[in-house]
């Protein structure tokens, strides 16, 4: 079936933090769910009330990310591995009816004789390239590596020099320095105004920016805190969990970090800890960060318990999303419809997303396998699916 291309987001000329331009049309949404045991596609009706499940795809595979290419509205890439088999990328151009494996998945360069070298354990993050580069994709891996495809995801090569750069390797640390299932390169972000302007985050290893298409990179760490007692001048101790650029104001980025919620307004290099305004009993620790597609003052987080031994559960057993509508000066609860007690799941860094409709829809998947949907920007939530495997990632794709 032939589908029309989605309307391109208009970024250039948007006013800083104030763009509230209306979406041009209500588009059908497909929610792409990556789980520890496979992938599912949830197709919504025009009202986003009724959902049709399509899956499982790759049953038994560990799927870290499924992304719909917004440039053609039909190409899907899925990052997968199994408990036994090495990592790969699957590609579909017919909404998952058929999948074809990459002929050259992301892989580090072969090390010189006698050197241990690194091996990709899994591809963690997929980002479509700039609209002017229709077949370009970026991938972030565990252990941390940055890769690029220029043929729609069929073949992948190491991108830029960071994978083998001695300084970056120090910042990346070892497997023991990373998150429980491995250190990750994530939040690969392309400036919608300039395909040469890129960002990525590393857990651990900090946030980095390139203005020359990945030839050189500069860390942006000023203002970010690290765990008490560690040296903030060492990027190895920086742990950005999720970084998002605002499409309506590409000079503004939000970040959910291991040590709080931050905002930066470029060209400033100073992050501001806007999570200080969160309620003290909730705190500002979490993993996902979601931005409004048309209003750079609006963003959502999903706090988790980062106290004591880091339970990584909803604080107090009460899951709550929080929203700011003024760039982080104040935060409000967005929890109507969510369980009110004894609920111990949480939401991983890739498992919360927004669509581009008006009002926008919000989506999150839980570690307990539930998919929750809000059709009114987080004011009310409805559970659409339960009993799925642990959800690793949720993306909201836009169909014409």
């Amino acid at each position: 079936m032939e589908r029309k291309k989605p309307t391109a987001r208009k970024a250039a000329g948007a006013k800083r933090g104030r763009s509230t331009a209306r979406a041009k049309a209500v588009s059908k949404v497909v929610v792409l769910i990556a789980t520890r045991k496979g992938a599912w596609l949830y197709h919504g009706d025009a009202a986003r009330k009724s959902w049709r499940a399509d899956g499982p795809h790759f049953l038994g595979h560990i799927v870290n990310h499924v992304v719909l290419d917004p440039r053609d509205g039909r190409t899907l890439l899925a990052a997968a591995k199994t408990g036994h088999l090495g990592p790969t990328i699957f590609r579909s151009t017919d909404f998952g009816r058929n999948w074809k494996e990459a002929t050259r998945p992301p892989a580090f360069a072969k090390a010189a004789d006698g050197q241990p070298g690194r091996a990709v354990d899994h591809t963690f993050w997929l980002t479509p390239g700039h609209t002017s580069e229709p077949d370009t994709w970026y991938a972030g891996t565990s252990p941390q590596g940055l890769f690029r495809s220029e043929d729609g995801g069929v073949t992948w090569d190491p991108f830029s020099s960071i994978n083998e750069d001695p300084q970056y390797r120090k910042w990346m640390g070892t497997v023991q320095d990373g998150t429980p299932d491995g250190p990750k390169l994530h939040s690969i972000t392309v400036d919608p105004r300039d395909p040469a302007h890129l960002y990525f985050g590393m857990s651990g290893g900090g946030v980095h920016e390139s203005r020359d298409r990945g030839r050189t990179w500069t860390a942006i760490a000023s203002g970010l805190e690290v765990v008490e007692g560690l040296d903030a001048s060492n990027l190895a101790f920086h742990d950005p969990h999720c970084v998002r650029l605002c499409p309506s104001n590409p000079d503004r980025l939000y970040q959910q970090n291991h040590c709080g919620i931050y905002r930066i307004d470029r060209p400033s290099n100073q992050w501001v800890r806007i999570g200080r305004a969160m309620p003290k009993r909730v705190g500002d620790i979490g993993f996902p960060m979601v931005v409004h597609p048309r209003n750079a003052d609006t963003a959502w987080v999903f706090p988790m318990d980062g106290s004591t031994v880091w339970p990584r559960t909803s604080p107090g057993g009460v899951p709550v999303a929080y929203v700011t509508r003024n760039g982080g000066k104040t935060w409000q609860r967005a929890a109507s419809g969510l369980p009110q007690n004894e609920t111990w799941w949480t939401v991983k860094r890739q498992a919360m997303a927004a669509d581009a409709n008006d009002p926008i829809g919000l989506y999150f998947g839980t570690t307990s396998g539930e998919l929750w949907v809000s059709r009114d920007e987080g004011r009310h939530w409805t559970r659409v699916a339960e009993h799925l495997p642990e959800i690793y990632a949720v993306e909201a794709g836009r169909l014409s």
Binding site: G83, H84, L85, G86, T88, A102, T103, K110, A119
Partner: protein
């Protein structure tokens, strides 16, 4: 020589038992990849190391070295090792 393929890799071969050739285990896997593109990388990483939960047996004996010599009469068994939930 005969190569027995474990279930997770049969999406590549379409069958439980296939033919491949090579004077070493490494060469055999290269030939297997020529016949079934992509299958080798699922078993052997980019540093030419066996992936943690893949095991190889030649005539019933476990082999850890890709340079292990093979004869055309050998039987190679590829196994997915137990790796938990």
């Amino acid at each position: 020589m005969n190569v027995l393929i474990p279930a997770p890799l049969r999406s590549y071969t379409g069958q439980r038992q296939v033919e491949a050739s090579g004077s070493t285990l490494g060469a055999l896997l290269v030939d297997l990849d020529r016949r079934y593109p992509g299958i080798r990388f699922r078993m052997i990483n980019e540093q030419d190391r066996m992936r943690p939960h893949i095991r190889f047996f030649v005539n019933g004996d476990q082999v850890f070295d890709l340079l292990k010599s093979l004869q055309s009469s050998d039987e190679v068994l590829i196994v997915q090792a137990l790796s938990g939930g």
